[in-house]
Symmetry: C2
Subunit: 462 residues, 2 copies
């Protein structure tokens, strides 16, 4: 009858061990966010649908989880509408809220809603779950965390320089060497579209170009032709498929030459050159800065810098982070209030998989500095709880095995749960004001005077 | 055109200050959960609907947020069903997932799903959001955190003793004096229903009784009569409305006398006496243990102890925590696998309001130990970033004002954002290898040699 319960596709349970590893990453990222001057905000798990819909393109809209209205959810639907079975028309009538799809749009909403409390430029970080009705695959889930840092209210390119350093600082702390921070600039992409005479097809052009490392040059060209970009235009793109594999400065020089007739393209080069020069002068510890002219990232709202981070060579994993500058994100909520912003995101789940792959998690993330008192029955247990109370008041994690089970069962429990020490407090020990302390690793057991126990435990458990 | 965006009713944004206060409570609770030997788990924000529905009564089912299926959500609905507009019938056909309503049912699901990895008794804590389509009011939200600790796999009453101590330890850490931990036992309620001859109306009886402190004796009696409980039966309840206002032991004695003919009732008294005796012997630091025979709590799954915590007298707030023993919770997922469990919950949001009311949050939860470098232009900013990088490597939060704005604007920013120190690094300072450090509180400014800066900052910022 009863089916074994399971969780929805693309979601996960986490046990103590996994949580310790995840917190190690969260805490590292949070630590650097704070060192770089970002302050935390949190927003609700769900927003009004109208806040989210239309901000991520048609594909994004489809992937947003909608929440069914409570009560009579059909009250705003008439019979004709209902019988039409037009789900796109019906959805907004039966669902006014939706789970957050990313942290950027809620952040833009936050900035506009709270603008009178904010002191610009506003540097915020946000580490929360996002939800996508995506097809689950390795490193892609329907509920996952994003770790975002953004600044709004300043167009300064120093922010981009800071973000490159922030990536590098986090990866250094995680001992994750050899990540590539790829950069591009939306203005460079606009410039390319301009010089091939296809400015009006900028989106189709960038969407196709962005797929280069996934589908290869031939398919990219095919997609461009499909989208109505002329063969002549495409042929002018040849140089970008053949950018040298050299130093980032060489790549910049090559693309700069290609863009010599495009004002916006040269502006993009100039911005990127500033960022690259400053980053190279400040030096990166463990990461590689690179320029990838094909990098577009799906989202349409970037207007300047575009970032994407790749895991170290040899680790098969999509991007582990990304971001960019969006000069008019808040404009979607208040056209008179276009604040420039720039931000980056860390992909927690993928970073987790990368650290796992490379065996980079520190040992002993899960403390076993805990003490288990064997339960010898009501009288002894009552005494044990008094000592346990004192342990806890001294910051020592201690607990009583709940039942007066056979010793073997209790010791097996202590063993399986990796208690470092077990305390035995029987009638004899109570009478003498002592207890026996057993080291579960070595098996050694010693009698300890109760009044000296706290000092003893502090010495051996820390 | 564009409307000012807002968040859904009953949800909240949190700023850095609020997050610092919330984290203070979370961290305190987590610290004690760990000292008491609980380990963390996390479950998805949404579960399959069938995992949640039917577990919280009809009212609970209504308050569960359902997630609309992705894509063609009407594909499992035929035309007749659709035109019926029967939303209760339609809901499960168009929505297979739902936001978690509490942490207990997901925990039961977790235990059954992962039983082969678990080592019983299993002590877990879980601090995550839950979602309820409830009418928002003070201290009641549609998205809020629960902080739960539960043990499954042991019927030992020592667990109940531990939970009373856990409440007390947390409240002591929070300096929250005078909370009342009210206890009852489901078996006592069953015994009462038995001695008045209304065992088959146990649920109606307890639901009505539970409202005593909200609606008063007369309305409780009215509700019981409405539910078909006889006037004669109700008259037998008179003593429980007149339980003395004395010591918990006196109350136990009075109710024990009333239950002398009920085996199950006396069993409940015996359990409660054990817990009370142990707790009084171990002593509570800051909380008061009480017995409230009218305490039933809405949920139907409690089978033994019932807990509810009230804020200190004078603070108007519903319960700030609660819990109890449920001997067959996992049975809802696997009838052959009934594990006994007992747990408690802390209501984060209400504890927050209580601490706010009583002015109990520590000062300086939000660190202002941060250093802002004034931006004098590209050349100077580049130098500043080098020093900033060194600051961060030394664990000092430092940042560059992004734009070379007028000094006054930058200083105002530093002031409003409560930076403790501002660093001025102009051309002159760069030439001499110094910088000027301004204490924003006192206004004092001193020249510091760059090579001595880290030692200086560590001394003044910590």
């Amino acid at each position: 009858m009863a089916q074994k319960p399971a969780i929805p596709k693309g979601t996960r349970d986490f046990n103590a061990n996994e949580i310790a590893k995840r917190n190690y990453i969260f805490d590292t990222i949070k630590h650097h966010f704070q060192l770089f001057g970002f302050e935390p905000i949190e927003t609700p798990s769900f927003e009004k649908s109208k806040t989210l819909m239309g901000k991520y393109g048609d594909e994004g809209d489809r992937l947003i989880f909608k929440i069914l209205d409570s009560g009579d959810f059909l009250k705003r639907v008439d019979d004709n509408q209902l019988s039409s079975r037009d789900t796109s028309m019906l959805t907004p009538k039966i669902s006014g809220k939706a789970l957050r799809y990313d942290l950027t749009v809620p952040f833009a909403r936050y900035v506009i809603q709270h603008q009178h409390e904010l002191n610009l430029p506003f540097k915020r970080y946000q580490i929360q779950q996002v939800y996508r009705a995506d097809r689950p695959q390795k490193g892609r889930f329907r509920e996952f965390y994003q770790c975002d840092a953004d600044v709004v209210g300043s167009e300064s390119l120093w922010q981009e320089v800071e973000f490159v350093q922030l990536y590098d600082a986090v990866f250094k702390s995680l001992q994750l060497q050899g990540c590539t921070i790829k950069m591009n600039n939306r203005k460079i992409l606009s410039g390319l579209a301009e010089i091939i005479g296809e400015s009006d097809k900028l989106i189709d052009f960038t969407v196709a170009l962005d797929k280069l490392d996934k589908i290869g040059k031939d398919k990219v060209i095919e997609e461009m032709l499909d989208k109505g970009i002329s063969r002549e235009a495409v042929s002018k793109l040849e140089p970008i498929f053949n950018v040298s594999d050299g130093h980032i400065r060489e790549k910049l020089t090559e693309i700069k030459a290609l863009l010599s007739d495009s004002e916006i393209g040269l502006k993009g080069i100039e911005e990127l050159e500033f960022i690259v020069n400053q980053c190279l002068s400040l030096k990166l510890s463990d990461s590689i800065l690179d320029f990838d002219v094909t990098l577009a990232r799906g989202l349409n709202y970037y207007t300047g810098a575009i970032f994407e981070v790749q895991a170290p060579e040899g680790v098969k994993m999509g991007s582990i982070g990304g971001g960019g500058r969006y000069d008019d994100l808040t404009g979607i909520f208040d056209p008179k209030n276009k604040l420039s912003g720039v931000g980056i995101s860390f992909g927690l789940d993928r970073i987790y998989l990368v650290l796992e792959d490379l065996d980079l998690f520190p040992e002993n993330l899960l403390s076993n500095n805990r003490l288990l008192f064997i339960n010898f029955g009501e009288f002894e247990a009552g005494h044990a709880l008094e000592i346990i109370k004192t342990c806890r008041e001294n910051g020592i994690a201690a607990e009583l095995y709940p039942d007066a089970d056979k010793m073997k069962k209790q010791m097996t429990y202590a063993d399986k749960n990796e208690f470092k020490y077990v305390a035995l407090l029987g009638g004899n020990e109570i009478q003498h004001g002592t207890l026996a302390l057993k080291n579960m690793k070595t098996g050694d057991q010693e009698q300890v005077v109760q009044s000296e126990l706290m000092d003893k435990l502090k010495a051996i458990l820390n």
